[in-house]
């Protein structure tokens, strides 16, 4: 039996609470619309480095996403960026910077920074937390990569050696070396990223780290830390640590769970709450609710209970293969899991995966196709429904991890989906 949750239709139901879903929901709620966000889990932001990468490789390394995008889109007509104008992209980036309170996001689409990953690869990113920007290898001369003994998800020696090699290969003189710190952890040998972030908010713990560092550092050395420098208080933790050691400090994203990703998720969830948006967690969209031939809402399942949520608009931001937004059966048949919209993937008969791990697997670009307003289209290229908009990784045509474009796509399409709805609302 399906019950109906509330008789009044919401203005919009947003499915998914990752970067795309949260962006759309916050924007709509702040504009005064009645928005309900329905999400199975807390979204992929838990994994994300939380850098807004717009385009890092296409396929050669990109120095300026803004300059590279027109040619890139021309070469990839079904890429999600085909629906994003440069102006809209810039607006979405500004919008984001204005919505994260914990710290500033810096940078823009005109130039990529080259920030080290936890294994020491310089990775192109456009807009990043201020705590990370100091890691741009082109502005570094001398850096100590600081590890924490009890943190198994960050290996400073490997990162430093790789960073040195990568910088040298790029013609840069960068001296990088590891420093392993052993601040007190109450005897625990295995401390996770989140737990470290909490500990860094304790001035005593921070003091111990600073003291250990001061003894180990050389002159002029900047310090790269795993991104665990506090959670809510990241800005003060970061500033005070720099003051205490008298050196610039920057954060390096770690393996999941990602503290910067959780900071970003927290910031957007908090904005949503303040704007009066409703949030239904632990529930999953399982099908469209069709009335009089129109899409009137979605069917939602929480546990064994199924309800119907009526809405004028549905924003589909359920993610791609990694989040369950797109599901693939043995044999290759694929479906979009919430509304059953048409999916574009490898042709039948075409292999879905190639034998080399780093090959470009045909399955890699699977997802929906959308028109310029982000309405999912069918094989004929026409929108399937007038009142469904797709945002984020559920849209196919991209290789977000290869291109380093994931959060850029999610932010800009989430922002634009809300824009389409707001336009319509007048």
């Amino acid at each position: 039996m399906t019950a109906q949750a509330g008789t009044r239709a919401a203005d919009a139901v947003v499915l998914g609470a990752g970067m795309a879903g949260l962006t759309a929901a916050v924007r709509l709620a702040e504009a005064g619309l009645r928005v309900v966000t329905v999400a199975k889990g807390l979204g992929s932001l838990r994994l994300a480095p939380a850098t807004i990468d717009i385009l890092g490789y296409g396929p050669g390394r990109v120095d300026s996403p803004a300059e590279a995008l027109p040619a890139f889109v021309a070469a990839h007509p079904h890429h999600p960026y085909a629906a994003v104008t440069p102006g809209a992209l810039a607006d979405s980036l500004r919008w984001l910077a204005g919505h994260v309170d914990a710290y500033a996001y810096v940078g823009d689409a005109s130039a990529n920074m080259l920030l080290p990953t936890a294994i020491g690869v310089p990775r192109p990113s456009a807009v990043v937390p201020e705590t990370m920007a100091g890691g741009d290898i082109r502005s570094l001369r001398c850096v100590a990569i600081a590890g924490l003994r009890a943190l198994k998800d960050f290996h400073p020696a490997l990162a430093a050696e790789n960073l040195r090699a990568a910088a040298a290969a790029g013609g840069l003189a960068l001296d990088a070396r590891p420093v392993l710190l052993s601040p007190p952890t109450d005897g625990e040998a295995d401390v996770g990223t989140l737990s470290f972030a909490r500990r860094f908010e304790d001035p005593g713990f921070r003091g111990a780290v600073a003291a250990e560092l001061r003894a180990a550092l050389r002159d002029e050395e900047a310090v790269g830390f795993p991104a665990v420098l506090g959670f809510d208080q990241v800005r003060s933790v970061w500033t005070e640590l720099q003051e205490a050691i008298g050196r610039p400090v920057f954060e390096i994203p770690t393996m999941p769970p990602s503290v910067p990703g959780m900071r970003l998720a927290r910031a957007l969830q908090e904005r949503l709450r303040r704007a009066g948006g409703r949030f239904v967690l632990g529930a999953q969209a399982v099908g469209p609710e069709i009335r009089d031939g129109r899409l009137a809402g979605v069917r939602i399942r929480a546990g064994t209970r199924e309800t119907v949520r009526l809405a004028r608009w549905i924003v589909l931001a359920t993610g791609g293969l990694a989040s369950g937004g797109i599901e693939v059966e043995l044999g290759g048949a694929a479906r979009e899991s919430a509304l059953g919209l048409p999916v574009f993937g490898p042709d039948p008969g075409e292999p879905a995966f190639l034998p080399g791990y780093l090959d470009e697997h045909p399955m890699g670009t699977i997802g929906l196709r959308v028109d310029a307003r982000l309405r999912p289209v069918g094989r004929d290229g026409e929108p399937v429904r007038q009142n469904v908009l797709a945002a984020g990784a559920v849209i196919g045509g991209a290789r977000p991890w290869r291109e380093k474009s994931g959060d850029g796509i999610s932010l800009s399409t989430g922002y634009l989906a809300a824009g389409t709805i707001l336009e319509d609302a007048g």
Binding site: A48, T117, I119, V121, G331, W401
Partner: protein
Amino acid sequence: MTSAAISSASAAGQPAPAGRADGRIDCDVLVIGGGSTGAGVARDAAMRGFSTVLVERADMATGTTGRFHGLLHSGGRYVVKDPKAAQECIGENIILRRIADDCIEDTGGLFVTTPIDDPGYADRFIQGCKATGIEVQEIGVAEALRREPRLNPRISRALVVPDATVDAWKMVWSCVRSATQYGATVLPYHEVISVIRDGSRVAGAVVRGPGGELRIRAEVVINAAGAWAGKIAAMAGCEVKVRPGKGIMVATNHRLVNTVVNRCEMPADGDILVPIRTVSVIGTTDTLVDDPDDWPISRQEIDEMLTAGENLVPGFRESRTLRVWGGVRPLFQDEGPAETRDVTRAHAVLDHRARDGVEAFLTITGGKFCTYRLMAQDAVDAACGVLGTSRPCRTADEPLPDSGEQKFYRIGSRLAGRERTLHDEQLICECELVRRGALEEAIARRGAASLDDIRRALRLGMGPCQGGFCTYRATGILHQATNLSAAEANRALLEFLQERWKGLHPLLHGDQLRQAWLDDWIFQGVLDVEHLPLAEQERARV
């Protein structure tokens, strides 16, 4: 690869192989092949006081032995069709339980008559068990379902036999440890490229290893190269027909059953479900292939395995499939049946003097994992004959290192160990409960630069996430614990990802696809491993 030789000064005062510095080794017995058979032969020969060298082209147990179904047969499978093989199985089953308990999980086995099976087979089965000395007990269907609740409720009969499961890597490495304690030299990553002939005699082999070529001279050479035995024999100018019989297996991410479950029927495809540590493995198939190193796995074969699993455990198809892999059986066949299932599973020792007029050269082939000890005994007995001495075999009595106390491992063993060290040690692989200390110890012991070698020692990355979280950690630890350069560590990481991908991509769908994509997000999105700096020659290799 930088795996060094594994050898030790002869603690027991046995003659150690001489030479090395000048690219030469002299020994009594040279064993070719580092699977269960070769490892068993090396141990047996060393225990009998022969100076012994074993060479293996890759890591130990990377041939068929590392790719099998994991079953310590009771012999039940062969009682009707191949009683000789059945008898060997039960004899060895009893011995291995005594000398190798640390490598065995005593799961017990069930033969069940499913709706597609001949109901009359069970009676022939019971008769066969009695004739070959296999303990068998019929239990009621309700009792079988109580023991194994996921089992197909439509089974009509259930028979209990002493099947068990066995950790091949543990067994092989235990043999290696024991062999080296008795003075043997074990050389993984040393490939035989030619066999040395002295007139009508085989006098050793030339091997290529990490440090270049080595000439190993021996009084007798034992070819234990499994499905590759024909190729080695050809190098010595002999013809041995070993037909590679390919079998595939599919692992699911749960332990669906706790007992080995067999269909009570003539051996067929996909008729055994084996619980191995945290997973269950359905298998297997049997198709002739031409080249033991090159054969495909088709989607249809995978599909057949899933259907077969469904017959034993309804809902099997919906469970999450982790990976698929295959191995090639060394089926010895001089002349005779073309269907591989009709070839006997018993083994044969070939003395090439009688057969081909080539002296001091033996081939041990056929057989099964669970009869490796007996195969080794027969081979070394034959070697004694060649060497003109008679020294008794002691492997049936002397336990392997860490065994001999009737302490079979259990599924909870690692968890229990983990709980004791919760606060002192990091957990590197959460799925398989691999502790940092165990990882560092394995790296030190192996001197290995390959994460895949470590995987086989510790089951690193073999659980549901298939290496998503532990690979980076293990690479960092490997880099620090050894004097590997970052470029070499990077290559180890990329090779490991490639190795994992090999078993994943043929059946990637559903939840496991989702997991694989999350893993890619970590590797490509977060770490950017595509742009890891590699030395030029390493980039070419990956």
